[in-house]
Amino acid sequence: MRALVYLLTFASVIGLGFWAYTENYATQQALKDVARLNAEIADLRDALSIQRAEWAYLNRPDRLRELSTINFDRLGLLPLEPEQFGQSSQIAYPMPDLPLPDINAPVDVSGELPAGEEQVP
C-alpha cells in the first residue's frame, strides 16, 4: 500500500514536472510571439506615419495647384468662385417617372370595422 502511494507520488511529481516544463516553453513562445507582433505593429505604425507624411507631401496645396494647371485641358479645375454657389431652386430635378394611379376609378371614402372591433372615438 505504502509503495503504491510512493509510486503515485513519484509519478505525479514527474507528471507535474513535465507539465511545468511544457508550460514554461509555451509561455516563452507566447512572449516571443507578443514581442514579434509588437515589433511588427511598431514597423507598421512607422510605415503608416511615413505614408501619412507622404500623403500630406503629395497633397500639399502648391503641388495640387500646379497639377491642376498642368492638367487644365482634361480636368478644367478652377478655384472655387462665389458664382459657383447656387440655390436649390436652380437645380432642375427631373420629374420622377412614376406610373400615375388610375384617377378615374372610384375610391372608397368610408369603410366597415372588422367584426368584434369596437369603435374608439
Partner: protein
C-alpha cells in the same frame, strides 16, 4: 545487518565456568560492545543527516542569495508576461490644421557618425564622403578622422539614397544612428506659424527634437509630452484658406511692388486665426539663419503679422469714433468740426494731400473720407484718459496672447505720457505702434458685437467667454460706418460681388532711423470684416512699401494697394469658408412660390 553476536556465547561461558570466573562478565562485556556499536551507528547516521541538512541549507541559501544579488544588480524590467501595448514611436506630437491635414509630422531617418578608431582607410572615406556630400571639406574631414578623437558626427540627417551610398563606401568606422526628423510637408505654407525645430540633446540611438521658433517653441512642452504624443495638436488654421491667402497675397505683393506683406484672417466669434501669412517666407524644413547685421525685419524669418510693430494709421479712427458713440457723445449723423488744417499748439493737423473736408462733416463721413481733423475733434471730446483706457482694454498696450514665441517679444510702442497731442495723433493711428495681430483682435471686438475675443492659433470648440467692450448697438453702427468706407469712401475697390465687406484703410509713413519719416515709404493696411451684415471674419492685409504703378503717377495709399488685394483675398476665400454670396435674384416672372417644403 550482520549476525548478532550472542551475549552469552556458550563456548566462552563454559570455559569461564571451568576457570571459575563469573560468566556475567562476559555478558556485560558483550553488551557494552553491542551498545557501542549501536551508538556508533546512530552517530554516523546523525552526522550524515546533519551533513545533508547543511548541504540543503547551503544550496538553498546560495540560490536565494544569488537570486537576490542578481535582482539587485540587474536593470529593473517590467515583467514580460504583462505584454506592453504597442508603443507610440513618435516622440513629438503631429501638428494638423483644423480639418486634420498634416502640417508637421515626424519621419524616421538616420544620422551619420564615425568612429575613426575602427576606420580602415580615412583618406578614402573622406574622399568618398565629399563625393556624396559636396558641402563637406575633404581636408577638414581627414584631419578630424586622424586627430585621435574616437567619435564624431558627420551628418545629422540622411536621405535613404545618401545612406545607401554611404553604405557602399563599406568602411566599418562609418555608423548610422536612427533619428526622428521633423517634417513640414507643406513647405513654405504656414512657415511663420510653425516656426521650426532642431535637435537638442543628441545620442547615438536617438535625439531630442526641440522647437526653435513659432508655435513649435511656444508649445514645446505640449508637443513633447509623452502622454499626448499620439494626439495631434489641431490648429485653428485652415490649410486651404491659408494656401489661397498666401497665393493672393504673394501676387498682390508683387503687383504692388511691396517688399513685404502680411495677412491675418480671424474668426470673430471664437478668436481662432484661420490664416496667418507673412511674406517673404521661408521653408521651415530648412530654416535659414537669422541675419547677423542689418534690420531683422528684412529677414524672411521676420513675422510681419505678429512681430511687425507699425503705426497702423487711419485704421485706428474707428476706435475713437466707436468710443465716442459708446459714451453717447456723438451719433453717426452728428456733425463735427473738420476744418483743416487744425492747429493745436505748435502742431498743424492736416488731411491727406492737404484736402479740407470741412467745415463740418458727419461722423459717418469722417470715417468714410478718413478725416484726420474730424477724428481728432472726436478724440478730444472723449479725452485722453478714457481713450488710453479704451485702447488698453482693446489690447494695444500689451503683446498679443497668440501662441507664438515671437509675439511675446513684440510689445507695442505706446507713448509714455498722454498729452492732448497724443490723444489727437493716436486717434488716427500715429505715435502708437502695434502689430497687425493687435489690430485684428481689436477689429474682431467690433465685428463680434462688442465682445472681446482672445486670438488663438489652436482650434476651439466653441466661442469663449468674453468681456463686453462696446454695446451691440455701437458695434452695429461702427460696422455700418466701416461698410460706408467701402460703399462710398476710401476703400471703394473692396466691392466684391456677393460679399459685403466693411473695413477701414490705413496709410502710415514709415519711420526712418533719424526719428523722422520717409517721404515715399509707407505701410498700407486694410482692416476689414465680412460679411458686413453679420461679420464672421476679420481680415487684415498689410503691405510694406507698396506702390501702385498702374497709373501715370505712383500711388501709395491703401485704397489703391492693400484694398484690392484684400478684396481678392475675400473673393477667393469666402467660398472656401462656406459663406454663400448674396445673390441678386433675377426678376421673378409670373410665378411666386408661396410655400416651400423644407
Amino acid at each position: 545487518m550482520t549476525a548478532r553476536t550472542p551475549l552469552r556465547p556458550l563456548a566462552r561461558i563454559l570455559s569461564a565456568r571451568a576457570a571459575g570466573e563469573n560468566p556475567d562478565h562476559i555478558e556485560r562485556e558483550n553488551l557494552r560492545a553491542r551498545h557501542e556499536a549501536i551508538r556508533e551507528k546512530t552517530r554516523h547516521r546523525a552526522e550524515l543527516r546533519l551533513l545533508f541538512l547543511g548541504l540543503a541549507f547551503f544550496v538553498s541559501f546560495t540560490v536565494i542569495g544569488a537570486r537576490m544579488g542578481l535582482l539587485a544588480a540587474s536593470e529593473p524590467m517590467e515583467p514580460r508576461s504583462a505584454a506592453p501595448g504597442a508603443q507610440i514611436l513618435a516622440q513629438r506630437a503631429d501638428i494638423t490644421d483644423r480639418n486634420g491635414r498634416v502640417l508637421a509630422t515626424n519621419l524616421m531617418t538616420h544620422a551619420l557618425y564615425a568612429q575613426p578608431r575602427d576606420m580602415v582607410d580615412p583618406r578614402k572615406v573622406a574622399r568618398e564622403l565629399v563625393a556624396i556630400f559636396p558641402d563637406l571639406k575633404e581636408e577638414e574631414l581627414y584631419r578630424r578622422f586622424t586627430d585621435g578623437r574616437s567619435f564624431l558626427w558627420i551628418k545629422k540627417k540622411l536621405s535613404p539614397e545618401q545612406m545607401q551610398k554611404v553604405h557602399e563606401i563599406g568602411d566599418p568606422g562609418l555608423l548610422f544612428g536612427p533619428r526622428e526628423m521633423r517634417l513640414y510637408p507643406n513647405g513654405r505654407l504656414a512657415a511663420h506659424i510653425l516656426g521650426g525645430s532642431s535637435f537638442g540633446a543628441e545620442g547615438v540611438h536617438s535625439a531630442e527634437v526641440i522647437g526653435t521658433a513659432g508655435l513649435e517653441k511656444f508649445l514645446d512642452a505640449r508637443l513633447r509630452d509623452p502622454a499626448q504624443a499620439g494626439e495631434p495638436l489641431a490648429l485653428s488654421i485652415d490649410l486651404t484658406v491659408q494656401a489661397a491667402v498666401t497665393e493672393v497675397l504673394d501676387t498682390g505683393m508683387k503687383m504692388m511692388n511691396a517688399k513685404g506683406a502680411a495677412a491675418i484672417m480671424m474668426d470673430v466669434r471664437t478668436g481662432e486665426i484661420i490664416s496667418l501669412v507673412s511674406l517673404p517666407d521661408f521653408d521651415p524644413n530648412d530654416r535659414p539663419n537669422p541675419l547677423v547685421k542689418g534690420d531683422p525685419a528684412d529677414s524672411p524669418l521676420f513675422n510681419r503679422a505678429v512681430q511687425g510693430v507699425y503705426e497702423l494709421g487711419s485704421t485706428f479712427k474707428i476706435f475713437a469714433v466707436a468710443q465716442a458713440l459708446e459714451l453717447g457723445l456723438v451719433n453717426p449723423e452728428s456733425m463735427v468740426d473738420a476744418n483743416a488744417p487744425m492747429v493745436w499748439g505748435k502742431y498743424r493737423i492736416k488731411e491727406f494731400q492737404n484736402k479740407n473736408y470741412g467745415p463740418l462733416l458727419s461722423v459717418s463721413d469722417v470715417i468714410a473720407k478718413s478725416s484726420n481733423v474730424g477724428t481728432a475733434h472726436i478724440a478730444l471730446m472723449v479725452g485722453g484718459l478714457r481713450q488710453q483706457a479704451f485702447l488698453k482694454s482693446l489690447g494695444f498696450f500689451e503683446p498679443t496672447p497668440i501662441e507664438l514665441v515671437e509675439a511675446r517679444s513684440s510689445k507695442p510702442l505706446v507713448p509714455a505720457k498722454w498729452p492732448d497731442i497724443v490723444t489727437i495723433t493716436a486717434s488716427y493711428g500715429h505715435g502708437i505702434s502695434a502689430s497687425p495681430m493687435h489690430l485684428a483682435t481689436a477689429y474682431a471686438t467690433i465685428a463680434n458685437g462688442g465682445m472681446a475675443v482672445q486670438p488663438t492659433l489652436l482650434r476651439r470648440s466653441g466661442p469663449p467667454e468674453g468681456t463686453r467692450m462696446l454695446s451691440e448697438r455701437v458695434a452695429r453702427q461702427s460696422v455700418a460706418m466701416l461698410r460706408g468706407v467701402v460703399e462710398h469712401g476710401t476703400a471703394s475697390y473692396a466691392q466684391v460681388p456677393g460679399y459685403a465687406i466693411a473695413g477701414k484703410t490705413g496709410t502710415a509713413d514709415k519711420p526712418n532711423r533719424a526719428g523722422g519719416y520717409y517721404k515715399d515709404k509707407v505701410i498700407n493696411t486694410f482692416a476689414s470684416m465680412f460679411p458686413a451684415n453679420d461679420p464672421r471674419y476679420v481680415l487684415i492685409v498689410t503691405l510694406d512699401e507698396p506702390v501702385d504703378t498702374s497709373s501715370t503717377e505712383p500711388r501709395r495709399t491703401a485704397g489703391y494697394t492693400a484694398v484690392p488685394v484684400a478684396a481678392e483675398v475675400v473673393r477667393r476665400t469666402a467660398p472656401l469658408l462656406g459663406l454663400r454670396p448674396e445673390i441678386e435674384l433675377p426678376a421673378v416672372d409670373g410665378v411666386t412660390a408661396v410655400s416651400q417644403n423644407q
